[in-house]
C-alpha cells in the first residue's frame, strides 16, 4: 500500500474519530432545550459533555491539518470551494464553543438563555453543514480542469446533500440521547431514555432513505458493485440493533452500536470516494485523487512517522480522560462546573 493510500485512510480515521466523538456532543447540544427544562437540568446536560467537547472538536482540526499536509490540493479546492458553507460552520463552532465556557458565568437568565440557544443552534448548524458537505463530497461537485470548484453556494444545497444533512442531525440526536442516558442521572436521564427510544425508529427510516438515495445519487454501484455490501450490512445491522438494546435499557451497548453505525457510515463515504478526494461532476478526469492532490513522497514520509508516534499517544490520554469521567453526572447544583 502506498503512502497516499495510508494518508487517505488516516484522514478517514480522523473523521471517524470526529464524527463518533463530536457526534454525541453535537447531539447532546441539540437536545439541550428539549431535555433540559430548568436551569439545573440544563447544567446537568451540558456537564455530561463538558470535559470532552473541546478535545472531540480537535479531531476536526487535526483532520483539516492532515488534509492540508498530505493533500494540499484537496484542502485548497474544498476550503475555497465551500467558502460560505465553511464560514457558517466556523461561526457555528465559535458561538457553540464560547457558549459552553460562558453560559454559567453569569446568573442573569437572559444571558444563560442566549448561550443555551447558541449551543443548540451551533450544534444543529454544525451537524447540518457537515452532513451537507460530506454528501456533496461523495455525490461530486462541479470542479474544472484547474482543480477549482466552479459551483456556487446553492449548488451545495441539492436534495441529496440536504438529506445527508438531515441524516447527520438524526443519527447525532440518537447518539447524543443514548450518551445522555448513560451519563446523566435523575430527570435528565429519564427524559434522555425516553428521547432515545422515540428517536430510534425515525432515525432508522432516515438512514434507510439515505442509503437508497446514495445508490441513486452517487456512483457507488458501478464503482464498487456489491463490494460495500458487508460494510453497508454492518451499518444497517448496527442501526437496527440499537433498538434491541434500547428496549432492554442497555445504553452502553446501544452507544457502542450507534458508534459503529457512524463509523461505518464514514467508511462508506470514503470507500465511495477512493481513490478520489474531490469528485468532479463535470468530467471524471478532472477529479482530485490521492495522487494528483497529494504532497510529495518526502512530506508524506515525514508525516507518517509523526502520525505513527503521536496518534497512539493521543488515543491513550484521550481514552484516559473518558475513564476519569466514567461516572454519571449528578443533579446537585453545587457539584456542577458549567
Amino acid at each position: 500500500m502506498d503512502l497516499n493510500t495510508v494518508w487517505f485512510i488516516l484522514i478517514a480515521v480522523l473523521y471517524i474519530g470526529f464524527f463518533v466523538l463530536e457526534g454525541f456532543d453535537l447531539g447532546v447540544g441539540m437536545l439541550l432545550p428539549f431535555i433540559g427544562r430548568n436551569d439545573t437540568n440544563r447544567r446537568v446536560v451540558i456537564n455530561t459533555i463538558g470535559p470532552h467537547w473541546d478535545g472531540n472538536e480537535v479531531w476536526l482540526l487535526t483532520a483539516g491539518g492532515a488534509t492540508f499536509a498530505a493533500f494540499p490540493m484537496w484542502y485548497a479546492t474544498m476550503f475555497s470551494g465551500f467558502y460560505l458553507a465553511l464560514f457558517l460552520l466556523l461561526a457555528a463552532l465559535i458561538l457553540r464553543g464560547v457558549a459552553f465556557e460562558f453560559r454559567s458565568k453569569d446568573e442573569n437568565p437572559k444571558w444563560r438563555a442566549f448561550w443555551d440557544w447558541s449551543i443548540f443552534a451551533g450544534s444543529l448548524l454544525t451537524a447540518l453543514l457537515l452532513g451537507v458537505a460530506f454528501a456533496n463530497l461523495v455525490r461530486g461537485v462541479p470542479i474544472d480542469a484547474d482543480m477549482n470548484y466552479v459551483g456556487g453556494f446553492f449548488n451545495l444545497l441539492n436534495p441529496y446533500a440536504l438529506l445527508g444533512g438531515i441524516a447527520t442531525i438524526a443519527i447525532f440526536l440518537l447518539h447524543g440521547a443514548i450518551f445522555l442516558s448513560m451519563k446523566a442521572s435523575g430527570e435528565v436521564e429519564n427524559r434522555a431514555r425516553y428521547a432515545a427510544k422515540k428517536l430510534w425508529l425515525p432515525v432508522v427510516a432516515i438512514m434507510l432513505a439515505l442509503l437508497i438515495a446514495t445508490y441513486l445519487a452517487t456512483d457507488i454501484l458501478e464503482r464498487l458493485g456489491v463490494d460495500p455490501f458487508l460494510i453497508q450490512l454492518t451499518f444497517d445491522a448496527a442501526t437496527m440493533i440499537v433498538g434491541c438494546f434500547l428496549r432492554r435499557d442497555r445504553y452502553g451497548w446501544a452507544f457502542a452500536m450507534t458508534s459503529v453505525a457512524i463509523a461505518f457510515a464514514v467508511v462508506t463515504m470514503f470507500q465511495i470516494m477512493y481513490p478520489r478526494v474531490m469528485i468532479s461532476s463535470l468530467n471524471p478526469d478532472w477529479s482530485l485523487t490521492i495522487y494528483n492532490a497529494s504532497s510529495s513522497p518526502y512530506t508524506l514520509q515525514v508525516m507518517t512517522i509523526v502520525a505513527l508516534i503521536f496518534v497512539p499517544i493521543v488515543l491513550a490520554y484521550q481514552g484516559w480522560s473518558y475513564w476519569v469521567f466514567r461516572k454519571r453526572v449528578e443533579g446537585k447544583p453545587e457539584k456542577l462546573t458549567y
Binding site: 456537564n47 491539518g65 476550503f79 464560514f87 466556523l90 464553543g97 465556557e101 490520554y317
Partner: protein, 468 residues
C-alpha cells in the same frame, strides 16, 4: 473593493483578534500551573484559592483563543487557496503537527482540569495544568515554525511549479524560529505577568484579600520583570537578524527611503501622503548602525534602492510596504516594551522592599499597566506581517499570487462582516466577564478557622519559602 484587499483585511482582523487572547493563554497557563504546584508542595489553601481565581480568568480567555484559532487554520484554504496549493507541501506539515501534538494535549487536559478537581489526586490535577501549559506553548512553537517559513523560506525546492519540502529539519530549525519563539514565549509570560499585576493592584488598593494578592503580585512582578528584559534583548537580536533576512522590512521600519551610510535612527519621521518620501524627520546620527550591527559605521539600504533591486529581480511591481505601519508599530511596540521593563523592575523593587501594598499611588498606576503588553503584542505582529509586504512567503509568493482566485469579493465581504459582528459581540462579552470576575476576587475561603490574614503578614514566607 476587490477580493484581495478584503481577504487581507479579514486576515489582519482575525489574526490580531486571535492574538489578543493567545499570549495570555501562553503565559497564564504556566503561572496557574506554578501556583497549583505551590499548592501541592505546601498544602496551603491560599495557593489553591489563587489557582482557582486566576484559573477562572484563564478559562474565559482560553475559550476565546481556541474558537478564534479554528478560523485561522481554515482561512489558509478558504481565502489563500493558491498559496495553500503552492506551499502546502511544506506549510501543511507544521499545522498538522500542531494539531496532533498541541491541540489535543491542551484541549483534553484542560477538560480534565476543569472538571477533575474531586476526581484526581492533587498532584495529578496539577500535572494536567502543566500539560495544558506545555500544549499551548508547543502550539505556539509549531505555528511559528510555519510562520518562519513565510518570513524566511528554507528547506524546500521548486518542482513542477510548486514548492516541495526537501529537508524537514531545515524547516523546523529555521534560523528565524530561534528569534521568534523566545520572543513570543516571553511576551506570553510578560502579558500574564502584567495581567496579574494590574488585577492584584486593583485589589491591594482596596485592601481585599491582601495575602492572596500580595503573593500574586510578587510572582507576577518577578515573571514580568524577567520576561520584559529578555524580550528586549531578544528583540534586539531579532532586529539584527531581520536586517539580513528582510532588509526591506528594516528600511520600512526606519522610514529610510534612501540608502544611508552611516545610518541614522529616526526619532520622528513624517512621510508624504503617498508614502514615497519624507517630509520631515528628526534623526540621531549613527544610532541605527549601533542597533543593527553593534558598531558606529555601516550602510543600511533604503526602500528606493531595495525597490529597484526587487523590480530587477521579480519584474515591475510595488515591493515597498506602506512604511507608516511598520514605522509606528515598531515605535509603539518598543515604547511599550521599555515602559514594561521600567514598570516591572519598579514593581520588583517594591516587592523586595515588602512595601508595595502601601504605595497606593504606584498601585493606581499598576492597575492600568495591563494594556501595555496588549499594545506591544498587536503592534509586534503588525510589524512582522505588514513589513513582509508584498510577499506571503518572502521572495516566493506574493499576495496576489496567493489569494483564492475563485472566492468572489462578495463572499469575502459577507464573511468579513460576519466575523466583525461576531467578534465585536464576543469581545464585549469577554471583557464583561473578565472584569466581573477580576473585580469579584477569589471565592471566599473555605475554612472558617483559617482566615487568611488580611493584616499583611510581615513574616509572610515569600515564594522562595513556599518551595520547601
Amino acid at each position: 473593493m476587490d477580493a484581495l484587499i478584503l481577504a487581507r483585511l479579514q486576515f489582519a482582523i482575525t489574526t490580531i483578534y486571535h492574538f489578543f487572547f493567545v499570549p495570555l493563554t501562553l503565559g497564564l497557563s504556566i503561572l496557574v500551573a506554578v501556583m497549583e504546584t505551590f499548592y501541592v508542595r505546601t498544602g496551603r489553601e491560599v495557593y489553591l484559592r489563587m489557582t482557582k481565581f486566576w484559573g477562572k480568568l484563564f478559562l474565559i480567555n482560553f475559550a476565546m483563543g481556541v474558537v478564534t484559532g479554528i478560523v485561522q487554520e481554515f482561512q489558509f484554504g478558504m481565502n489563500w487557496s493558491e498559496y495553500s496549493r503552492y506551499v502546502g507541501d511544506i506549510f501543511g506539515a507544521p499545522l498538522a503537527i500542531e494539531a496532533l501534538l498541541a491541540f489535543f494535549l491542551e484541549s483534553t487536559f484542560l477538560g480534565v482540569w476543569i472538571f477533575g478537581w474531586d476526581k484526581l489526586s492533587k498532584g495529578v490535577h496539577a500535572a494536567t495544568m502543566w500539560a495544558v501549559a506545555i500544549g499551548s506553548n508547543i502550539s505556539a512553537l509549531w505555528i511559528l515554525i510555519a510562520n518562519s517559513f513565510m518570513q524566511e523560506p528554507v528547506g524546500y525546492a521548486i518542482e513542477n511549479g510548486r514548492a516541495v519540502m526537501t529537508d524537514f529539519f531545515e524547516v523546523v530549525f529555521n534560523p528565524n524560529i530561534f528569534y521568534m519563539f523566545p520572543h513570543v514565549l516571553m511576551s506570553g509570560l510578560a502579558t500574564a505577568g502584567f495581567f496579574m499585576i494590574s488585577i492584584s493592584a486593583y485589589h491591594l488598593l482596596r485592601k481585599r484579600e491582601t495575602d492572596l494578592f500580595r503573593r500574586s503580585f510578587q510572582l507576577a512582578a518577578m515573571v514580568a520583570a524577567i520576561a520584559s528584559v529578555v524580550i528586549a534583548l531578544n528583540g534586539h537580536s531579532q532586529a539584527q537578524h531581520m536586517i539580513e533576512s528582510q532588509p526591506m522590512k528594516m528600511a520600512a521600519t526606519e522610514a529610510l527611503w534612501e540608502t544611508e551610510s552611516p545610518a541614522s535612527f529616526s526619532i520622528l519621521t513624517i512621510g508624504n501622503l503617498s508614502g514615497s518620501g519624507e517630509v520631515f524627520s528628526i534623526r540621531l546620527p549613527r544610532l541605527l548602525c549601533l542597533l543593527a550591527y553593534d558598531r558606529f559605521n555601516c550602510t543600511i539600504r533604503g526602500m528606493n534602492d531595495l525597490q529597484a533591486e526587487f523590480e530587477a529581480m521579480y519584474g515591475p511591481g510595488d515591493y515597498t510596504p506602506p512604511p507608516v505601519i511598520p514605522y509606528w508599530s515598531f515605535r509603539l511596540m518598543v515604547g511599550s516594551g521599555f515602559l514594561m521593563i521600567g514598570l516591572s523592575i519598579y514593581a520588583l523593587f517594591l516587592v523586595m522592599g515588602e512595601m508595595f501594598d502601601r504605595r497606593s499611588k504606584a498601585l493606581k498606576i499598576f492597575q492600568w499597566t495591563v494594556l501595555l503588553p496588549y499594545l506591544a503584542n498587536a503592534t509586534g505582529w503588525l510589524l512582522t506581517e505588514v513589513g513582509r509586504f508584498p510577499w506571503v512567503v518572502y521572495r516566493l509568493v506574493t499576495l496576489e499570487q496567493g489569494v483564492s482566485n475563485i472566492v468572489s469579493a462578495g463572499s469575502v465581504l459577507f464573511s468579513l462582516i460576519g466575523y466583525i459582528l461576531i467578534y465585536s459581540a464576543l469581545i464585549v462579552a469577554t471583557v464583561y466577564l473578565l472584569l466581573k470576575y477580576s473585580k469579584a476576587g477569589p471565592e471566599p475561603s473555605g475554612q472558617a478557622d483559617a482566615p487568611e490574614s488580611d493584616m499583611g503578614s510581615r513574616d509572610m514566607p515569600s515564594l522562595v519559602g513556599a518551595e520547601d
